[in-house]
């Protein structure tokens, strides 16, 4: 069970080998988390993440392998992960996503479909199953990793940012639908984070490391705020950026 400070004991992480997910898992295990089930596409990386979770205090870890380009496995992946926890699931982290080089895929219909599956459709189908199970449980939390890129979609990454925008808005609706069920959904909107996913990108302001993101997540879980921004200042930055006139926005984002 989660305690009074929003610290969970049993956690499922979808996309559990991503850098942000690993940083979050480590911090959770250093608090009260003792059972972690990590789901991802690479067994080797999952095993590393599971060993890391144990190092930080988890007493029981397990893994589930899945491929997010195939949306038909989403519900099954969720139920496998819940079954492997074997008791009340306090927190599900949805950290599934892939940032591709847009110029390489935007003219390839199959690649575009795959990108949308990974960043939008698979997480949404998984969320339907997560939502159903947690509501039956009567309590629990969902943390969905969105992105500040979802707030205003920019031309150089409209596929990724657009999918995240869809996921972000859809999750706001889920969050409202959960009122009175004992279940809560929170969104994480990180800025650019130094990780494997963003290797080689040109540097932008407000870039942080994964540990800072994880630290902001811990605070957000404790406070229960609906949208966790990382760094928190981005909330104010994007309050302005989202209202920039389109020509100015295009200019600002021309090369990033």
């Amino acid at each position: 069970m989660e305690n009074a400070f929003g610290q969970p004991q049993n956690v499922v992480v979808l996309g559990g080998s991503s850098d942000i997910a690993r940083a979050i898992t480590k911090k959770l295990c250093a608090q009260r988390t003792h059972t972690v089930v990590l789901a991802g596409r690479n067994q080797e990386l999952l095993d590393v993440a599971a060993a890391e979770a144990q190092e930080y205090g988890a007493t029981k870890t397990d893994t589930v392998l899945f491929d997010a380009t195939d949306v038909t496995n989403a519900a099954r992946t969720v139920s496998d992960a819940f079954d492997k926890v074997g008791e009340h699931v306090d927190l599900v982290v949805v950290a599934v996503g892939l940032l591709s080089d847009q110029r390489a895929i935007e003219n390839d219909a199959t690649a575009v479909q795959e990108s949308m599956n990974v960043n939008f459709t698979w997480p949404v189908v998984a969320l339907a199953e997560i939502r159903r199970r947690l509501v039956a449980q009567g309590s629990g939390r969902i943390l969905v990793i969105s992105s500040v890129a979802s707030v205003r979609v920019r031309r150089t990454m409209y596929l990724y940012a657009g999918a995240k925008a869809g996921l972000d808005r859809l999750c706001q609706g889920i969050a409202d639908s959960l009122e009175g069920t004992g279940v809560r959904l929170q969104l994480l909107r990180p800025g650019v984070v130094r990780s494997r996913m963003t290797e080689g990108q040109s540097p932008v302001p407000f870039t942080t490391g994964v540990n800072e993101v994880a630290e902001n997540v811990m605070r957000g879980l404790a406070s229960g705020e609906r949208v966790i921004w990382s760094p928190p200042l981005l909330r104010c930055v994007f309050a302005v950026l989202r209202h920039l006139p389109a020509p100015v926005w295009r200019k600002v984002t021309a090369d990033r």
Partner: protein
């Protein structure tokens, strides 16, 4: 069956469950026969997650409201859902008072036994269960009438067990004879924790009731300054006018959640300063009404909403006399961490009772109210756990909302005795709660 959201008095960790309102012991037995996981709930004054069960069945005891006649020796049989308030309305006009009362009248008799509540007279009279003659416990394997002599294992195993053996449906308790509805109160102010603790250790035995309110925000020469109030029931000969008046309803209320952060280190410091200065330095035998002395917070309905949406936790621990310096160390750690903590309550404990899970051990107990929100608070309380563990003390399950499961067994070394009893009356672990899951008392 209706679904409802449940949380404790601290307004943290809400969960949704089905709600049943049985109005008789038979109806309780019918609910138990469904084999659905369940927990009994009274008026919801446990601070944490003791009286809720996410996804299960919460069984309200508020339909069990029978109040029997008080016999000439002061013995009365009450339904488990009768509140202390209900009882006192009937008993005070007849010259009887409850032998042990917590700081609020809004607890049920069933809850008082399940949490084995204590009052300002533990040093003299022990906790609530010490005054229970008999009780009915509906367990998954049958309903039993138990007493300290008839099935003492189930009697004491149910005391302090937070509802995990079954549902208490009624209890017979011994009341206390009073001649008036007044307490003669001595009030003293102390500039430092050491002084108030010395005064309590030396002279508490001369008083029926004793409690100290400690300021946890001051440091140095005024660390733990305190107001000590102690008193005895006024005899008819002590007063010019003798009354036996039942308690009144709260006249004030908090209609909505205050903004989070209203109670912050600054506002709490200001409040504590005003409160300390407004107390008399030394006053003797001041008559105070029973409600004013025992239940001052009952005058404000829903006062917990002052802590805002995020709520608060209460941290209450006890340590033996040999480890009395833990009290000062805890207050020092809190004040140096700059965690806002409202007035803390310091009391003496006398001997504990035979229950394996009852909280009191002879020595000291300190209770702290702490608003949720400060990022450092979870870590600070984990530090306090270490200090309490090192002192071989324990924390009170009726207040807990955040203890780590690995510490439970050290704090309650007789846990296995309790688990053996539980497997006798509830082999399938049907009785469980969010607290029992969090502390891994019951597994799933």
């Amino acid at each position: 069956m209706t679904r409802a959201t449940f949380f404790g008095w601290g307004h943290t960790s809400a969960s949704v469950a089905s709600l049943a309102n049985p109005d008789s012991e038979q109806a309780v037995r019918e609910q138990l026969a469904t084999t659905s996981p369940m927990i009994a709930r009274g008026l919801g004054r446990s601070y944490g997650d003791a009286a809720q069960l996410s996804g299960g069945l919460v069984l309200s005891n508020l339909g069990l409201r029978d109040v029997g006649d008080i016999d000439d020796k002061g013995v009365v049989t009450l339904g488990a859902g009768v509140s202390v308030d209900d009882l006192l309305r009937v008993s005070i006009p007849q010259g009887w008072f409850i032998p042990v009362t917590p700081g609020t009248r809004q607890v049920t008799i069933g809850g008082a036994i399940a949490a084995d509540v204590h009052g300002k007279n533990h040093h003299r009279d022990g906790s609530f269960a010490n005054h229970v003659r008999e009780m009915n416990v509906a367990t998954p394997t049958g309903t039993f009438r138990v007493s300290p002599s008839n099935d003492p294992d189930l009697f004491w195993g149910t005391v302090g067990a937070m509802g995990l053996t079954g549902v208490i449906t009624s209890a017979t308790i011994q009341l206390l004879r009073i001649e008036t509805d007044q307490i003669l109160v001595d009030t003293q102010r102390f500039a430092h924790l050491d002084q108030v603790m010395a005064a309590m250790a030396e002279r508490d035995h001369l008083y029926h009731y004793s409690v100290a309110w400690v300021d946890c925000m001051t440091r140095g020469a005024h660390m733990g300054r305190a107001i000590l109030t102690r008193g005895n029931h006024a005899a008819a000969s002590d007063l010019e006018e003798v009354n036996l008046t039942a308690p009144r309803n709260a006249r004030l209320g908090v209609p909505f959640d205050a903004p989070s952060g209203l109670l912050n280190p600054l506002s709490v410091r200001v409040f504590n300063e005003l409160w300390y200065r407004s107390a008399p330095k030394d006053r003797e035998r001041e008559p105070q009404g029973l409600s004013a002395f025992f239940h001052p917070l009952d005058g404000v309905r829903d006062w917990n909403r002052l802590y805002g949406k995020r709520g608060f936790v209460q941290y209450q621990f006890c340590v033996a006399d040999a480890a009395s310096d833990t009290i000062g160390n805890v207050i020092n750690h809190l004040s140096s961490s700059r965690v806002a903590s409202f007035l803390a309550v310091l009391k003496r404990f006398g001997p504990g009772n035979a229950s394996p899970l009852s909280f009191p051990i002879p020595g000291w107990t300190l209770a702290l109210d702490l608003p949720v929100g400060a990022p450092s608070l979870p870590g600070v309380l984990d530090d306090l756990d270490e200090m309490v563990l090192n002192a071989q003390g324990r924390i009170y399950l009726a207040k807990d909302a955040r203890l780590a499961p690995e510490h439970l067994r050290t704090m309650y070394p007789r846990l296995d005795e309790f688990l053996a009893l539980k497997s006798r009356v509830d082999p399938a672990n049907q009785m469980t709660s969010d607290l029992a899951r969090r502390l891994q008392i019951v597994g799933k």
